[in-house]
């Protein structure tokens, strides 16, 4: 019903461009305003730094980490993989001709041909399979190295997610928005509970980060993930983090790159439009 209502709203918008009530643009304005009001001391372009944008105490330690970032070697590995020719003689550069200028800011996007959302990870694996290569695993490893390399090339570019005026695109947006605000799991909590309403509060000893700016820094190197990895590799994708946050509330996580998480990423990243790409980054 909600989806139908939203499509109807979208249809109305075409007819009445003045009434901007539930449009993505007005959502975006409300979303930003919420965080600007909640954290008046945080410069607007600093939300890209996650919890460190609102917590001066942990920021210092994090800045020290960022001096010699643990993700650096993974950017290098990504560059190597990126430049390795496929068996057919082609390479990633053939799929991503603009990679030098940076492309991270344009993902995820709505593909009108297929009616679905294309994430950067999806495009990386599609490039491999289109060229007869084996795809990478979704959440960690090679895929995060290549995406880290592509993100590093895009640093400073501004997130620029487009929601075209296509009912299918609006549907994807609304699906992601619904995931963000809906209570789920045995513990009955929404992403919005922790990263919107109570951003800045402490849950046990952790300070909850604002959702504004969340996706700009991905992929991330997490000390926690490094500790759990035999090789000490802490790299993980945004969808790896989604799964972790779903599990925290005892909800069954969706698969990385499932339609559900792609829609969530579409909404979540659109909400960071205009902020600079700063991935990969380092996190606890």
């Amino acid at each position: 019903m909600k989806t139908i209502a939203n499509v109807l709203t979208a249809a109305c918008l075409v007819a009445l461009p003045v009434a901007g009530q539930a449009s993505p643009e007005s959502d975006l304005n409300d979303f930003r305003d919420h965080f600007y009001k909640k954290f008046p001391d945080t410069p607007k372009d600093d939300f890209i730094n996650g919890v460190y944008s609102i917590d001066p105490a942990s920021r210092e330690q994090w800045e020290a980490f960022e001096e010699f970032p643990s993700y650096e070697i993974y950017i290098d590995k990504g560059e190597e993989l990126f430049n390795k020719k496929f068996a057919n003689g082609k390479g990633f550069a053939d799929c991503f001709p603009n990679y030098e200028k940076g492309i991270r800011q344009n993902y995820p996007y709505f593909d009108s041909g297929s009616g679905s959302i294309v994430t950067l990870e999806g495009a990386i694996n599609k490039c491999l399979t289109d060229n007869g290569e084996k795809p990478y695993k979704w959440k960690k490893g090679n895929i995060t190295y290549v995406s880290a390399y592509l993100a590093s090339k895009s640093r400073g570019n501004k997130i620029n997610i487009k929601i075209p005026n296509d009912p299918k695109a609006i549907d994807q947006y609304n699906r992601g928005k619904k995931h963000f605000y809906a209570k789920r799991g045995q513990l009955n909590m929404a992403c919005a509970d922790c990263h919107y309403h109570y951003a800045g509060a402490k849950i046990r000893a952790d300070i909850l980060s604002p959702a504004l700016g969340h996706p700009t820094g991905f992929p991330v190197y997490r000390n926690k993930w490094a500790g759990a990895s035999k090789k000490g590799d802490g790299m993980g994708s945004l969808h790896r983090r989604y799964g972790g946050c779903n599990k925290q509330v005892r909800a069954k996580p969706f698969k990385a790159q499932s339609d559900e998480y792609k829609a969530l990423e579409y909404f979540h990243t659109y909400m960071s439009n205009g902020l600079e790409v700063n991935g990969p980054s380092q996190r606890k």
Binding site: Q186, L187, N188, D193, A201, K202, I203, R204, A205, D206
Partner: protein, 123 residues
């Protein structure tokens, strides 16, 4: 004879009963204390109540501050049943609350909620 036996029996039962009654306050106190101690354990256990995730509670460390500090509970909840209802299902009072519906979602059993309530009521 039969009547007499019956009488004796009754007397004995009454005596037992009186004896029990005499002991009752002590026994109940010990049981109450055990419940309160267990309630505290369940409240602090990260896999159970994990109340400290959101509430400052005396005796607990690394408390969050999403919810109000749990202090002066008797003043705030003159009726202990109202407190129990809040712990059992916080969504009754505030449908959008971030606080977990511990009872309806089966995170805690009724008896665990009773014990936590007893503990929280001492604060």
């Amino acid at each position: 004879m039969r009547l007499k036996a019956h009488l004796i029996k009754t007397t004995v039962s009454v005596a037992t009963l009186i004896g029990c009654l005499g002991l009752t306050p002590l026994a109940v106190n010990a049981a109450e204390d055990a419940d309160i101690a267990e309630g505290k354990k369940i409240a602090f256990d990260r896999k159970k109540g994990n109340c400290l995730a959101c509430h400052m509670i005396e005796g607990g460390t690394l408390a969050g501050n999403i919810g109000p500090p749990l202090v002066a509970m008797k003043a705030r909840f003159p009726d202990v049943e109202v407190l129990r209802a809040q712990i059992y299902d916080a969504t009754e009072k505030n449908p959008n609350t971030i606080m977990i519906p511990f009872g309806p979602h089966g995170v805690l059993t009724d008896s665990e909620i009773d014990k936590i309530t007893k503990f929280i009521y001492t604060l």
